[in-house]
Amino acid sequence: MLAPSLKAADSAVLAQGLRKRFGQTEALAGVDLRVGWGTVYALLGPNGAGKTTAIRILTTLLRPDAGHAQVAGFDVVRDAAEVRYRIGLAGQNAAVDPNLTGAENLRLIGRLAQLPGRLVAPRADELLERFDLTDASNRPVRTYSGGMRRRLDVAAALVQHPPVLFLDEPTTGLDLHSRNELWATIRALVAEGTSVLLTTQYLEEADRLADRVAVVDRGVVIAEGTPAELKSRMGSTVIEIGFEHEASAVRSVDVVSRLVAGRPEREAASVRLTSDDGPRVLVDVLRSLDAAGLAPSTLSVRQPSLDDVFLALTGKRTAATDIGAVATLHRGES
C-alpha cells in the first residue's frame, strides 16, 4: 500500500506554466511538462530555446518568475532541499574538478550527497567501473579526454542513485562511440527504474531514447508527443533538390507539389519535400522533373533533422536568439 503522501508524486516531474525572464529576454514563456516515472522525456530544441533554463528551474538552481514545478512530488521552490535529495544533474560543461582525480571527484560528490561514509569509496569505484574509467581513476581529471570527462560528469550525477536524473545535452560534443555508450547507459538506468529528463538538439537522440518528446522553441512547447507521433506530422524522409537557377526551382515546386501531401518548401534555388514513402516518391519526383525538362544539379535523400521538424512545425528554421548566451551575459553583469 502506498503512503497517502506519496500519491501526489505520481509523476517524476510535473511543471505548469513555468515562466522565466532574463532582462529583455523571455527564456520560458509558460511551459508545461509531465514526466512519468521510469520514463525518458526529451526536451528537443535549438540553442536558446529555453531548455537549460527549464532544467535549472527543475533542479532548484533558478527560481521561476511564475508557474509551479514538482520533482518527485516536492515543490522545486518551497521544498528545494527535499528535491535535492532525489535528483542527479549532469550539465552541459562537464562540471568536475580538473585538479582532482576521477576517484576523488566521485568521492567528494558522494560525501556532499550525504552518502554514509562507508558507502562513499565503494560507490565511486562501482561508477568508475561502470563508466570504463577504472584505469584512469587515479589521474587528475585535467589529463582526461573530452569523452572521459563527460562520462565522469554523468557518473557524478549518479552517485546517490537519484530516482530522477536530469541530463542537459548529455551527448553534445561526444564522438559516435561515446554517444552510443552513453545511450546504452541511460537505457540501463531507466531499466533499473530511474526517470530521466534530458535536453537535446538532435532529433535522432530524442527518437532513440525518449518515450515522449517536447519540442521547445523560444520558451514554449510547440509540439509534444511520442517520437512516432511527432515524426508522423512531417513525413519520415526528406528529399532536397537543388537547381542551377532559382527559376527552375520555382517551376519545380508546381511540378512536384501534387506528388506529396504537404507543400514543398523552396529556399532560393533548392526545394525540399517530406514524405512517408521516400523511395517511391523519389522515383516519381525524378520522372516528373524529367518530363518537365527540369534537370536538378544536386539531390539528397535523408532522415529528418531537428531543423526539418522545426520547419514543419513552425515554418521557420532553427535560428532563434541565443538565450543561453544572454543568460551567461546576465550572470556576468549582475
Binding site: 506519496l6 500519491k7 516515472w37 532548484t60 585538479n99 560525501r111 546517490q160 550572470r331
Partner: protein, 271 residues
Amino acid sequence: MSAAVTVAIPAADIQRRSPAVAAVRDAIAVAGRNLIAYRRVPQLLVFSTVQPVIFVLMFRYVFGGANSVPGFSYVDYLMPGIFVQTVVFGAMGTAIGLSADVKSGLLERFRALPMARSAVLAGRTLADLARNVFVVTLMAGVGFAVGFRVHTGPLGLLGALLLLLLFGYAMSWVFALVGLAVGDPETAQAAVFPLMAPLVFASSAFVPVNSMPNWLQVFANHQPVSVTASAARALVLGGDTASYLLQSVGWCAGILLVFAPLAVWRYRRLV
C-alpha cells in the same frame, strides 16, 4: 504504479544529518578538495609563498637601507607589515578560485546537491586559512633568518600570528564575494588588485603613516590593514597594544558580519 511511485523516496543510502553536522562535514569535504589543488597545482603554493619571501628580501635588503624608522631596526618594523600584506594578497586566491568554480559549472553541481548552503564558501575560506597557517609560519622563519627579532616574547608572537590568521580569514570572505560576483578568473584577477593595492600600500605596513601627505593619513591611520599591522607590530615589539588590537579585531568582526552573509546570499542566487 505502486512499484514506480516508491522510488520517490530518496535512495536508502542517503543519510539524513542534522543541519549543523552536515554544515561541518560538508565544509571539511570542500576544504579538503581545495587543499588538494595546492598539491596538484604547485604554482598555487609557489605564488603564495615565493612572492612574500621575495618581498621580505627586497624590503629588507633593497629598501631597508633607505628606510629607517625611529626606535626600531627596519626589519623588525617591516616583518609584521609583510605578514599582513601576505595574508591580504593570499585572499586574492579565494576570489580567483571561486570564480573559476563558477565558470566551470562546478558550483552549479554543488548547488543541486543536498549539501549545506554554507559549505562551499566555508570550505574555501577554511582551506585558505590552512594555507595561511603554512605561509605565515614559513614567513616567520624567513624573517628570523634575515634578522627579525621578537621584543616581547613567544606569547606576543603567537598572538600576532593568530591575529594575522583572523584578518586573513576575514579578507577571504570579502574576496569570496568578489569571486562569486565576477564569475571568471581573469576578471577576478583584474578586479581584486585595485581593491587591494590601496589597502596594502596606503597603510602602515611598510612605512610609518606620518611620512604620508595629510589627506592620505586620515585613510591610512584607520583602515584595516594599518591597524592590523600596527597591532601585530605592538604584539611583537611592545608598546601600545590594546587600542590597535581592539580596532583590528573590530574590523575583522565587522568584515565577517557584513561579508559572510553577503557572500552566502550571492552564492544562493547565482544564476
